[in-house]
């Protein structure tokens, strides 16, 4: 238990970050030139960190799996980015953003980190505007805001339904500027296969060149992982097809503890599943809940008639509709946090009130808003989302309500990091969704973009110096050290092993089976028996994978199936840890809902006495039980309560 040191600075909450910055170690410009940093991933966190490091004078190497750094999955974030600017004069402040985030996360996040996040949130908006990010503006030319779940103020900045795209292109621009200047070297179509440790410190990576197939080595004084979340363990999620957990998982197996793996966010408003050929799920932005009202029929027979195709949504009269979020949570209504909205949708569908052909859908209805504001206003706010919906579902959401259902979207869990965003491996920093840090058991909408950019622009550029200041006399590393030889050899052997199985099943076939186990037993509602069963099933499937997967091709050249197999092999190990973490946490909090622990009206029932901690798991070996380390969460400044979105 003594292994975890969160390194939270002394002093009152609002002075901790100032205090840290005033006392941390710095690296002089002359010494920065001698130091190298590797950044893996070019989403918001990775691109912003790499660009900032380059500007500061470090030598940076950046890696992404796509053909261009601009394609990282941050690009797909739709709705917006939170910041405590209080431009609308509606009562926002750093404290309130901090408080909403802690409360939204169901009191399972670290106070000091979250406060710092709220503190730097304003700088992010300033930075992005200076980069030319075309945020939405009002007619006076000032920035516009909207609301997101879990907040009673409007603090979300947005660029139509493409906020992630615009913020990422801003960071990509900054990165491109540094590539041109020569401070950053970009490696596209490279996938990290392993982390290399020298004398217990992170000193490099092994990566596969996805075009030539070559297994390459890269060394540096520090490594930053900004490789996103692990939602694709579930096969179907809103993540991109190539989003994967392998970099984080390899770091875990090399000694980085994994924090709160069970905290997976299931987003309430996604387009429902429609067939077994489906490759991914598409999110409909949370911003739609500003104007859309969620409902199902009040009468079961109406729901049945809709499912049978005998009635349509518009046939149901106003009195026969159950706006269940407004009914259950009058204070927040349709803007309750995601975990609450998802569970409420599942509850209605399980009770037989679901719509759509499968009964696994609820309505998101804009008729009221269109009547109140006009179609043009709704189109200007959500036009691209409506268009996307129509393309996929082939129905016009201006005329009939959208159908939505929850889907895996984001992972609050991730590699455990301290206040400096450093993992339990010295010299390995983790940023963005890949770390576990700021969102507790549930992330609020529009806070992922905020955290990614906060980590990359305004946190890591400080904290990494505190580490590198001690490294200035360490010469540049060579990649012919025995540690690199061993890691490269291991990586090659593992890929060869995958190729040598020559079994029956494609990677997708086995991945879908894993996804089904995870969704059924480690999804929105979990219980002890189901989780135990899941662990057994995952183990069986892992065995089957190594006996019966079929990976065509060779180590040479483009081989997508090989990379997919490599990622699935890691998911099969990570999946078990997710289930174990869910099994050990005998409480419900945020996105982690154990059916045994709920209040009389079906709300999550936390157990602060026993579980007010971060579960940080240590890898011991494939068939050994991982070791649990606990970081107790001390709430010095916030009074812990039961979350209440009713009044």
């Amino acid at each position: 238990m003594t292994k975890l040191n969160s390194k939270i600075p002394e002093g009152p909450l609002h002075q901790k970050w100032t205090h840290y910055k005033a006392n941390q170690k710095l690296v002089s410009p002359a010494n920065k030139r001698k130091l190298e940093v590797i950044v893996v991933g070019t989403g918001l966190a990775g691109a912003s960190a790499a660009a900032s490091f380059g500007e500061m004078g470090f030598n940076v190497k950046v890696f992404c799996i796509q053909d261009s750094p601009r394609r990282a999955h941050s690009i797909a974030a739709q709705g917006g980015i939170n910041a405590a600017k209080n431009y609308p004069n509606d009562g926002d402040s750093i404290w309130r953003l901090f408080y909403d985030t802690i409360k939204g996360g169901d009191y399972r996040a670290r106070e000091a980190n979250v406060y710092r996040l709220a503190e730097v949130s304003s700088n992010i908006i300033d930075q992005c505007v200076a980069q030319g990010v075309p945020f939405a503006r009002d007619y006076a030319g000032y920035l516009d805001n909207r609301s997101f779940g879990g907040a009673q103020v409007s603090r979300t900045f947005y660029a139509r339904g493409q906020t992630g795209q615009q913020l990422l292109l801003g960071a990509y621009g900054a990165l491109s500027k540094e590539i041109k200047r020569g401070s950053v070297q970009m490696y596209t179509r490279h996938e990290m296969l392993d982390l290399v440790l020298v004398d217990g410190r992170a000193r490099g990576i092994i990566a596969r060149n996805l075009v030539t197939g070559a297994i390459e080595r890269f060394a540096a004084h520090a490594v930053v992982l900004a490789t996103g979340g692990y939602g694709n363990v579930y096969f179907l999620s809103t993540n991109a097809m190539n989003s994967n957990a392998s970099a984080a998982w390899k770091a875990h197996k090399r000694g980085a503890f994994f924090g709160n793996p069970a905290f997976v966010q299931i987003h309430p408003t996604c387009i429902p599943v429609h067939g077994d050929y489906q490759s991914k799920l598409t999110l409909m932005s949370e911003s739609l809940r500003n104007d859309g009202r969620i409902w199902v029929p009040k009468k079961k027979e109406d729901a049945e008639a809709i499912r049978a195709g005998k009635l349509k949504a518009n046939d149901i009269s106003e009195d026969d509709r159950d706006y269940y979020l407004e009914r259950r949570y009058p204070a927040f209504g349709n803007l309750v946090p995601r975990d609450v909205a998802s569970r409420a949708a599942k509850e209605r569908c399980d009770a037989g009130f679901g719509v759509g052909l499968t009964g696994l859908a609820v309505y998101l209805d804009f008729a009221d808003a269109i009547r109140r504001l006009g179609k043009d206003v709704i189109e200007s706010r959500y036009g691209n989302l409506f268009q996307m919906y129509e393309k996929i579902v082939d129905e016009n959401p201006y005329e009939t309500p959208m159908m939505i259902y929850p889907a895996v979207h984001y992972t609050m869990g991730g590699l455990w990091v301290d206040y400096e965003l450093q993992s339990t491996i010295p010299g390995l920093f983790v940023a963005g969704e890949a770390n576990f840090s700021d969102h507790g058991a549930n992330r609020l909408g529009a806070s992922a973009l905020m955290q990614g950019l906060a980590d990359g622009y305004f946190v890591l550029p400080y904290t990494i110096q505190n580490y590198l200041a001690d490294q200035i006399t360490v010469p540049k590393f060579r990649t012919d050290l025995p540690e690199f030889d061993a890691a490269a050899q291991e990586a090659r052997e593992r890929l060869e092993q995958l190729l040598s199985v020559q079994g029956k099943y494609s990677v997708d076939t086995l991945h879908k089976r894993l996804g089904k186990i995870m969704w059924d037993y480690v999804g929105m509602a979990r219980d002890k028996a189901g989780l135990k069963f899941a662990i057994e099933e995952i183990r069986k499937l892992r065995k089957e994978f190594w006996e019966n997967v079929y990976v065509p091709g060779t180590l040479e050249g483009v081989n997508d199936e090989l990379m997919k197999a490599s990622r699935l092999a890691d998911y099969l190990e990570l999946a078990e840890l997710i289930a174990r973490d869910a099994l050990h946490r005998n409480e419900s909090c945020g996105g982690h809902f154990r059916v045994e622990y709920q209040t009389e009206d079906g709300e999550a029932l936390r157990n602060d006495e026993e579980f007010k901690y971060v579960a940080a798991w240590e890898w011991i070996g494939l068939d050994a039980e991982p070791v649990l380390h606990k970081e107790t969460l001390d709430y010095e400044f916030v009074e812990i309560k039961t979350r209440n979105y009713k009044s």
């Binding site: 500007e55 304003s122 503006r137 493409q162 491109s176 596209t188 996307m388 065509p552 483009v558």
Partner: protein, 262 residues
Amino acid sequence: MNFTLKIWRQENAKAKGRFKTYKVENISPDCSFLEMLDILNQQLIEDKIELPVDPIAFDHDCREGICGMCSLYINGRPHGPEQGTTACQLHMRKFKDGDTITVEPWRAKAFPVIKDLMVDRSAFDKIIQEGGYISVTTGGVPDANAIPIPKEDADLAMDAAACIGCGACVAACKNASAMLFVAAKVSQFALLPQGRVEAEKRVQAMVAKMDELGFGSCTNTYACEAECPKNISVENIARLNREYLKAKIKHADRKREAGGFG
């Protein structure tokens, strides 16, 4: 639905490519184009319908029309028959049962084929690196509301910034010109006060790089706009041309003035 697919297969950049014919059956009309290729690949892998097993390589990632990774030339059109749609958002209901569908990679000198339907678009990154950004460093910037920007300008900038960098404009153009791509980025910044400072330098550097990398000149046929999945307007090309001309005249003026004093 049943389809006959004629798909471009090419081992690598140096190999000679050819079309191969495949059949897919019982495809749901709600299936996306890429999911249909997944189904074909699944058959190639599990049913081993031809040996050696070699699934079709194609780029894809977000599958929601925003990452710009997918790049299929379907029945002679970038991203296929549906206007304003990426291949990943194209659904099989847009085709007729029994159709024969031809699938090729982007074809442009500046986008060499890597394998099958995958191409190398790093030329786009190189153009952006020449100045497709505002050279601000992290920190030390004014409050976000310090400079009001007329909503109309911000909206036009956003229209241009919606470009996903997929390269459909290049694939659509018979000269393989990258004018629409470059124009979108130049326009976004030309329309914003923050971007004006470097506007002249930016437009000249980006255009020069575009020419250097082997993209052709503008045909003025507007094929790029017609095929752009994000409906980026050719008005941006007009704006680029104005910016370019302005920059050149200013540049010439400055040279003359410098000469006069020298």
